[in-house]
Symmetry: C2
Subunit: 251 residues, 2 copies
């Protein structure tokens, strides 16, 4: 588990910090990266502020194998991600010839003017390669270990799928989740004993329901050894029964 590639996610946009927009990209990215054994270790959300974005990019790209950014690559004045990535790497921001061609053809086909705002979406830091956008053409891009994607979930998802095949894979993490009717205070000590029994090979977690009331506590075991995860799941179920609880659902 600890040898798996690591990743961070940087979500860019005032709207996420103003309570206007509910982010749903982090969960998608974590699930899809998890499916190829890449572990998301940290996420940050910053405003449309150059200094904050550049600082976060440089910290995160140095700390993890991969950095994925979302947001700020559209054509409006508050879309400053490409310039910030260029600044973070100390590289010039250039019109990418392939992106220029893609966008010019696309706008022409739709009867849109290829105005300077639209053509800003062809700007990529020197040496960057494009990420295909099958939804609305304007591409994302990759600079070294930094993957720059759109914030619109449907576009982000398409870009992410296009990037996955190029990433180094890790051991697949599998998990079991056992729901029970016990409280966290009841399972705490025996669950910790299970954690000690399995050591770092399995990570045990305990998650109460959204409402914070009894009756729906999920106990989760995660790890890269599928057989061991299954065994941990059976141990969790046995623990619940031995404490007088009921297994509501397991899977």
């Amino acid at each position: 588990m600890n040898d798996n590639p690591t990743a961070a996610v940087l979500m860019i946009g005032n709207e996420l910090l103003a309570g206007r927009t509910q982010d749903i990209n982090l969960k998608t990215i974590a699930e899809r990266l998890g499916s190829i054994g890449v572990r998301v270790c940290e996420a940050r959300i910053v405003a449309d502020d150059s200094a904050a974005i550049v600082d976060a990019i440089n910290t995160l790209r140095a700390s993890y194998d991969y950095l994925f950014t979302t947001g700020g690559i559209g054509p409006t004045h508050d879309d400053i991600t490409a310039q910030c990535v260029a600044d973070a790497f100390g590289r010039p921001l250039l019109q990418h010839p392939q992106a220029v061609k893609l966008l010019q053809d696309y706008f022409k086909s739709r009867g849109h003017d290829a105005n300077p705002a639209r053509m800003r979406m062809a700007n990529v830091p020197e040496g960057g390669t494009l990420i295909d956008n099958p939804v609305s053409v304007a591409p994302g891009f990759v600079v070294e270990n930094v993957h720059v994607m759109a914030g619109v979930p449907k576009i982000m998802q398409a870009m992410l799928e296009n990037v996955l095949p190029d990433l180094r894979r890790g051991s697949m993490l599998s998990s079991v989740s056992v729901q029970c009717d016990l409280g966290e205070g009841t399972i705490s000590a025996p669950l910790e004993a299970l954690q000690e029994k399995y050591g770092s090979s399995i990570e045990f977690g305990s998650y109460p329901g959204k409402e914070g009331v009894a009756g729906r506590l999920a106990l989760v075991a995660r790890g890269t050894d599928t057989e061991k995860v299954k065994e941990a799941g059976r141990d969790i179920s046995a623990m619940i029964v031995s404490l007088g609880g009921k297994v509501i659902e397991a899977g």
Copy 2:
């Protein structure tokens, strides 16, 4: 707007980075703080890892007027937030007498044993004050400018309401959102001109719909001067019409 108190949010929990749990707390915190003029400037999500939590707490509490944390204050082995806050401040973690009493009474009334795991929820860094939890009693706490809350949304929301009256208020931010049928590439230059006209008193944003397709672009103006925000909204609507677009909804 720039004199308003600033805040950061630190969300703690492996489940948020594993794609298991969709966070909904950030949006609530941003909305509620925004309603009293406190601006959320940054958010981070870290795993149940002491070093990562302590580091994030110390960076964020030094950078903003307030820090709000969610998660990791339950009774299980992966709930390490209280210890991490104590470590971040270099203070001992102590049983808080008032919390001990609250929890003992609560467990007694429910016929639960006040076992060591449950009583861990009375641990508070030296000098901390309690945040009342009307849902499930186990309190949050405040140490200087750091507000430690539960991760379960219903409990977090109740704790947040209990904390709001103690915060310094800023000028209320109001906003208008105008939906139109134009693309971002069409409105970009005139929207930037509006941004220049209003300067830093109004913040203009442009947000395409979730699907990334045309027909539902939201143009938003935010600021502390309500009259100026309304005027900016009227300017946005006039801009849309002058570009041959249709105002679908404004408010």
